[in-house]
Symmetry: D2
Subunit: 378 residues, 4 copies
C-alpha cells in the first residue's frame, strides 16, 4: 500500500545555527515523528551570517534552503513559524519583524534584554494574533507536569516554601574569557542566562511572584579579553544572584542563580514543601522526582523516588516502558510539539511571550532591588 501523507504541515524558518539552533532543528523534526496529533513541522529555511555554516546546517538537517539574510527569512511567504536562537541582543528586532510578517514566533530565553523590550514583543504578538513561545525547555519535563498537577490538586496541601536554584559552573574559572554574556547591553548575567529558568519553574509550580529582595554579585570582576590574553575586561553583569520572593498564593521562597558553581553542569533544582507533602527535584537527574507524602506510618515511610514513565504524559509518546529515560532533546521535542499544537488549535502556547515578559519583569526588579538595596513590589 502506497499513499500520500495527508498530514498537515507547518513550515519552519530558523535563525541561528549554534547550540540552540541545532536543538531546534532536531526537535522540530522529532516532534513530527513522536507526536501524531500535530501538524508535521517541515524545515524550510535556515539563516546564519556565515553562508557556509548556514549551508552545512541546511544539508545536515534537510532544510529546503539557507540564507545569510534573516530579514528575507522572516518575510518568506512559505514560512509559518520563525524560530529565533541568536544572542539575546538580537531577539527583539527579529521577533518584531517576524510578527509584523504574520509569523508565529518561537524565541529562545531570555526573551529580551529587559522587560520593556519584552513588553513590546509580547504586545506586538498579541495584537497581531500570532502564537509565541519561549524556550524554557525544562518546564516540558513530564515530571514537572506531575509536580504542577500535584500542587494544583492540593496533594501537597498548603504550600509553605519554594526553594529553587539554577547553578552551573561554565564561568567559574576566572581565566574563562570575556564574552557577549558579560556585556550589559545583552541584558543581565547569570540571573538572565540560567536564573530565568528557575524563575520559570517557580512560577510554573507555585504561581505569580509579587515582591522580591535580591542581591547580585560579580565575584569575577574582570576576564581576559580572549582566551589566554593578559589584558582583562570588566564584567558588567552579575555572576551570582540571590532572591527572596513572595508568591501571590501567600508563601515565600528563594531563587538563586550562578554560573560560578564549579563542578555543576545542570543544578536546576527545587524543593517545594506543603502541609501534606514535599517534592524535590534536580535537572541533574531529570527522570527522577522525589516525593514525600505525609500521614503514613513513619516506620515504612520516606521520600519516594518517582521514575519517569508512561503514567507521566507525554513520556509514553517516546517509549511505552518506564525507566527508559528521556534526554534533553526530548524535552525540546515536547516543547516544539506543544507550540505546534497551540498553533494548530489556535490557542495560547505556554510559556509564551507574556510569560517570558513576566519573567523579565522579575529579573529587572531583581536588578533594581540589588542596586537600591530594598524590596521591590512587582
Amino acid at each position: 500500500m502506497r499513499s500520500t501523507n495527508m498530514r498537515k504541515t507547518v513550515r519552519i524558518g530558523l535563525i541561528g545555527t549554534g547550540f540552540m539552533g541545532k536543538a531546534h532543528a532536531l526537535s522540530y523534526l522529532a516532534a513530527g515523528n513522536v507526536f501524531e496529533d500535530i501538524s508535521r513541522p517541515v524545515l524550510h529555511m535556515v539563516a546564519d551570517l556565515d553562508a557556509a555554516r548556514a549551508e552545512a546546517f541546511r544539508e545536515q538537517f534537510g532544510f529546503s534552503g539557507s540564507t545569510t539574510d534573516w530579514e528575507s527569512l522572516v518575510t518568506d511567504p512559505d514560512i509559518d513559524v520563525v524560530s529565533i536562537t541568536t544572542p539575546t541582543l538580537f531577539h527583539k528586532e527579529m521577533a518584531l519583524a517576524a510578527i509584523a510578517a504574520g509569523k508565529h514566533v518561537h524565541c529562545e530565553k531570555p526573551l529580551s534584554v529587559n522587560a520593556a523590550d519584552a513588553w513590546q514583543m509580547m504586545r506586538a504578538a498579541e495584537r497581531a494574533g500570532v502564537r509565541t513561545a519561549t524556550g524554557f525547555n525544562y518546564l516540558k519535563n513530564p515530571l514537572l507536569k506531575l509536580a504542577r498537577e500535584m500542587i494544583a490538586s492540593g496533594e501537597l496541601g498548603e504550600i509553605y516554601d519554594f526553594n529553587g536554584i539554577h547553578a552551573e559552573g561554565f564561568m567559574a574559572d576566572p581565566q574563562t574569557p570575556w564574552s557577549w554574556r558579560c556585556d550589559a547591553r545583552g541584558g543581565a548575567g547569570a540571573i538572565a542566562d540560567v536564573g530565568s529558568h528557575i524563575v520559570s519553574v517557580a512560577r510554573y509550580l507555585a504561581g505569580p511572584i509579587t515582591e522580591l529582595c535580591a542581591k547580585l554579585d560579580t565575584p569575577v570582576a574582570t576576564r581576559p579579553v580572549s582566551a589566554g590574553a593578559t589584558k582583562r575586561r570588566e564584567v558588567a553583569v552579575d555572576d551570582i544572584a540571590r532572591l527572596i520572593v513572595s508568591f501571590e498564593r501567600g508563601c515565600s521562597g528563594t531563587l538563586q542563580a550562578s554560573w560560578l558553581a564549579t563542578g555543576r553542569s545542570m543544578q536546576l533544582a527545587f524543593q517545594i514543601s506543603g502541609s501534606k507533602g514535599t517534592l524535590a527535584f534536580t535537572q541533574e537527574r531529570m527522570n527522577e522526582l522525589r516525593y514525600f507524602r505525609a500521614g503514613e506510618d513513619p516506620r515504612g515511610n520516606g521520600f519516594r523516588l518517582i521514575e519517569a514513565g508512561p503514567s507521566h504524559p507525554p513520556y509514553g509518546a517516546f517509549c511505552v516502558a518506564g525507566g527508559h529515560q528521556l534526554g534533553f532533546n526530548d524535552l525540546k521535542t515536547i516543547e516544539m510539539a506543544e507550540f505546534i499544537r497551540a498553533i494548530d488549535r489556535n490557542s495560547p502556547a505556554s510559556p509564551d511571550f507574556r510569560e517570558a515578559w513576566e519573567i523579565q519583569r522579575l529579573i529587572d526588579a531583581a536588578l533594581r532591588s540589588s542596586r537600591e538595596r530594598c524590596w521591590q513590589v512587582l
Copy 2:
C-alpha cells in the same frame, strides 16, 4: 541559497510496529539528522500483519509505503537495510530471507531462540557479505564507551571482578498474565530478555567468557492465561537467572537477570574492580558513571560521579554542553548511526550477529548448566 541535498541515502525496511518498531523508526530518522558523516536513512517501507496499524505507522513516521507482507518487504529492490523488531521466534526466518535478498540486517535482541539458529543467521550473513547489527542498545552509551576505554587502556589496572545484573519488575506480579515471553518456543525467559543485555555489557567491557555455572528459577510457576482469568498456564521459562562466570582475561564475575524485581524498571547495573580503580554504573542513571581512582590521598578521594558530556563521544553530536543528558532514544540513535556507518565503510558493525551468537551461546550454556547442575565450558 537553495540546493539539492547531495548526501547519500540508505533505504530502510522495517518489520514490526511495537515498542521497538517505533524506536527504530525514530532513531533512523534522528541518526540522519544528528550525525552528518553517515548516509541519511530514508524510511521506505514498514510491515505489520495488521494493515491499519502498518498504515498509521507509515503515516506517523513518513515511510513511503506500508505492507502486511514482510516477505515482499525483504525482497523489495528499493530497500538497502531490513530492521526486524518482531518477537524472537520470527527473527530467524525473516533475517535469513533478508540476507538471501542481499540486505543488510538489523535484528533486535535476543537474536534467536537458541545458539544453533543464531549460528545459522550469522553464517548466512557472513557468507553473503552483508552487514548485521543487533539491538544491544545500552552498549551505545558514551559512558560505556568511556568505561571500555578505561579498562582497555589499563586505567583500572588488572581487572579483579565484574559484578553485573539486569533486573526489572514487569513480571513480578503473579497476576500478570502469561504471554509469548513465557513460551519456551520463543527461547529462554529473563536470561534472554533482559539477561542478554548484561551479558553484552560484560563481554563489551571485560571480554570473552570461557565458562559458567548457572541456576535458573521460575518462582512464578503459573500465570493467568489472560488478564483477570482464573485459569492459569505454566510458565516454561526462567524468571530469574544467576551465573558465575570466568573471563578469558583471567578474572571471574557474576551475571544476574530477573524480571521479578518488584519496583525496578531498569536496574542494568555493574561494578567492575581492578587494582587501580573501580567503575560502577546503573542504567537507572544512564548519564552517570562512578569512578574510583586508587593511589590518591584518601583525605580527599572518593568515587567520582562522572556526568556525560562532550568529552564522551558522541555525546557532543547531540548537545555541545555537558549535563544536558541523553535519553534512551538517543542511545538507539547512536546504534543506528554506527550501523549505517559500518555499511558506508563496508566494515563490521558492533555488536553484529557474530557477537549476538556468542551471547546466545552463553545463554544456552546457562540453561544446560542449570539443568545439569554443573559448570559448562564455552
Copy 3:
C-alpha cells in the same frame, strides 16, 4: 596487674534530663573512654524539677546524686563543669549562676533568647575566666573539619558562594500542638531552633557575616493549644526564615531555616563554591562530603564522594577503619572531649559563648530585617 587509675577527672553537673540531657550524659561518659588525652568526665549530679525523673536518670547513667534544685547544683563545690540542657528561656539565669560560682559552663544552643542576654552571659564568663561551650554539635563532624581546612588552605580557591539550609519537618503538620517553641518569650522560632545550626556552619566555614537581609514567615499562624484540642493559640515566632548574607571575606550567600519542611528530618545542608572547587554536604548523610576539584581532565572528573575515615581526625579515635560511620552521639562525644580539652589546657573552647553571641546577634538582626524590610549591618 592491678593499679589505680591516675588519670585526672573533671566532675560534671547536668541540668535537664530530656533529649539533650541524655545526649550530654552519654557523651561525657563516652568522651572519657574514646579520648585518652583528656581528663575523664565524672557524672556527679543531675538536676530536674521532677525528683523521680532525676533519680531514674541518675541511676541510668551512674551520677553520684540527683536533685530538684538546680541552684544547689551550680554551687556544689564538688562540681567543675555545669551543663545546661533546659529550654532556652532558662539558660541565662542558670549560666550566670554557674559562672558566678566559678564553674565552666556548657549550654545548649541557642544560647539565649536574644543577643543582649547572650552578651551578658559571654561577658560574665570572660570576666570570670571560666571556659564555655555551646551545643553546635554538627560542627564537630570530622568532615566539616576537613571542609574548613580545605577552605582555609585555599584548596577551593577564592570562595564565591555559600548556600546553606537547615530544614526539618517536625512542626509541618498544622495540627501539631502549640509548645514553648512557639512562644516568643523563649526567643525566635525556626531561625533560632534549627537556623542557628546553619549559621554556625556558615561562620565556621566561611567566616564572619557583615550584613543580611531576611524574611521570616509563619505559615502556620495558629496551633491547637494541646494535642487534639479544637482551641488554637497564636504562633508568635517564625516557622521559616530566609536570609541573604554578605561575608567579611567578600562573598555572599544564603541561609535558610524551616521546621515546616515536611518529610525532612535533618536537612542541614550546604554547598560552598570557589574558583578551584566546590564542597556539598548534608547532615542526612553525615559521613559523606562531596568534593569537586577543578582543573582535571573532564573525561574522568566529577564530584567525589569522600567517606569519613581515619584520615579525618578524630574519626580514628572511634574506629581505625574507614567506612564504619560515626553517628550523632559520636559528634556530641567529640564536642564534649574538645570542651574538656579546652578546660585542661586553659584555652578557649569552640564554639564558646562569644561565638554563640555572634550567632545570636545575627538572629536578632534577621528579625529586625524582616520586620523593617531592609538590610541590616551587623
Copy 4:
C-alpha cells in the same frame, strides 16, 4: 538525694586490644548507659600479650586490671563474661577454656577456622549452659530488624530473590603486604573475613540456606612479605568469593565477598525482592533502607528512602528524634546490650555460636564447592 546504684552488674573480661577490643570496651560501657533494662557491664580485666599495651588499655577504659595471661583471665572467678577479639586462629582454645570455666562468651566473627571447630565450641557451650554471642554487628541495625519484620510478616509477599554482597578494598593493592589474613591456617580469606557478614545477613533475613555453588578466586596470588619488601609470599586464601545459593524457603540468591573492591570501604549491600515489595540496603548508608511497595498508583510511587528513627527500635534508646543517625559503635552497643539481656533472662542470644557454626558450615561448603567445581548440599 544521694543513693547507691542498685542496678545489677555483669563483669567483663576482654581478650585482645585491637580494633575490635576497643569496640567491645566502648560498647559494653555504652550499653550500660543507653539501655536501662540490662545489668550494667563492668570492665573487670583486659588481656594482651603486650603488658604495656594491656595496661594502657586498662587505663583508657577503666578496667580494674590488666594481664598478659589470658588463661588466668578466663578462670578469674570475678568475671562473668569473656569477650574474645583475637585473630581467628586463637578463638577455639580461648572460648573452650572460658566455657570450661563457666563463663558466658562473646567471640568475634568468624567464630573459628572451620566448621568442625565451630561445632566443638558450640556444643561445649550448649552442654555447659553458658550464653554465647558472635560479632555479626551489622545485624543489630534497627533497619535490618525492620527488614526482617517486613519479610517475616509477609509485607514483601513471596520472596523471589536475595542478592547480597560484602565488598571492601583494603587488600586491593597488590603491594599491600601478606598478613595473617592470608594464611590458610587461620581459615578462609575474604569469604570468612567479610563474606561471613553477608551470609549472616542472608540467613537473618531470608532464613536457612540448603545448597550452594561457589567459585573462590585469588587474583593477587602473592604479596610482599612485609611493607615495601621485594620478596613475596603466596596468598593461600581467597580474595573474592561468589556463591549461588538456595534458601529453605524456596527461593534462590547470590552472595559475594571481596577484599579487592578498590574504593569500597563498606559495601555490605543487599536487595531482596518479593511479590509485594523490594528492599535495598547498603551499610555505606546504614541509616537508610530503600523500600518499594507494589500495588500503588505508579504515577506517584517509587522506592521510599526510609530513614532510621524512633519507630525502629532500639533507635529511640540513643536519640528520641529521627534523622540523627546511628554509627558503627552504636550497632556494637546494641549487640552487647542484647547479649547481656540474654544472659539476664537466661535465654539464647542471637547470633550465638550455633548460628556462627551454621555460617561456618556454609563457608566450608563454599570452599569444597569451589575446589570440586560442583554444588554442595548443606
